[in-house]
Symmetry: C2
Subunit: 141 residues, 2 copies
Amino acid sequence: MFIYTEELAGDIDTCQYRRMSNPQMLPILEADTGAETVPCCAPLSRQPLGAEDSERIAAMFKALGDPVRLRLFSLIASHEGGEACVCDIADVGVSQPTVSHHLKKLRDAGLVTSERRGTWVYYKVAPSVVAALAGVLDLNP
Amino acid sequence: MFIYTEELAGDIDTCQYRRMSNPQMLPILEADTGAETVPCCAPLSRQPLGAEDSERIAAMFKALGDPVRLRLFSLIASHEGGEACVCDIADVGVSQPTVSHHLKKLRDAGLVTSERRGTWVYYKVAPSVVAALAGVLDLNP
DNA sequence: ACTCTGTATTGATGTTCATCTATACAGAAG
DNA sequence: CTTCTGTATAGATGAACATCAATACAGAGT
């Protein structure tokens, strides 16, 4: 399932890996930049997370830990191109300011990025961040 | 990455799937029973989650959304056999009642199960639940 | 300039939550 | 039965959070 760079495995918590289904290396960079790459860790079944890694990764899980945010995220992810206008996904049963608040939280967690195009704002998933999160959960490295 | 039962895909949110890396079907059952099987959904990039599915799955992400709980979970998952005594993982910087509190939350979320053996209590991961969570995050179905 | 629509921010409010101390419970060993 | 150790529960407290109404901001069109 995982191809894991063994030279880093026992050395430090933060290390590189790549998924077989999405074979791209993930260099270590800042998460909240919304860039292509993210810092991540070995699957949880490999080695326990350190205190700092736990903080960083838990923040991403926490962002998905609200039903409204998870729904918004899934609406973005399942939209064509992994991108959606706010106007397309705003109907989740809460007020418009609350939708905006939750989208900001998803953005701050590095799970989505936003871009204004004229009147509308488009949100898209940050694929490698999410792949890294899924990788952390992988129990069969 | 995913083999997805297409006959259910467009029909309803809750549907069956299996992972290629862990090729076992996951029939639909209760999550908090701690059983082998869990109810889960298509990857988020397939279709948006419904309101009820969002509640259920967000509860699992929320359980991993605290640094202490994520560390405890990783300590359990990375222990040999995916199982650990509380005494082995209790050193995460908070008091003993707080550790117990967090372990209960992980158990209530269906992510771990617990078993008393004599004086000690052992916690182990619920693998299919975690695999299902990882599957939900998969962006390349 | 003015207005209209889409999105973000501010400030307030009630709820949830993480944490602690104190205490209770369970099993083992005297 | 009593004591000791490991784990869980109860209750309290301060912080974080989800939500909303009101308001501000940004572009587009008239």
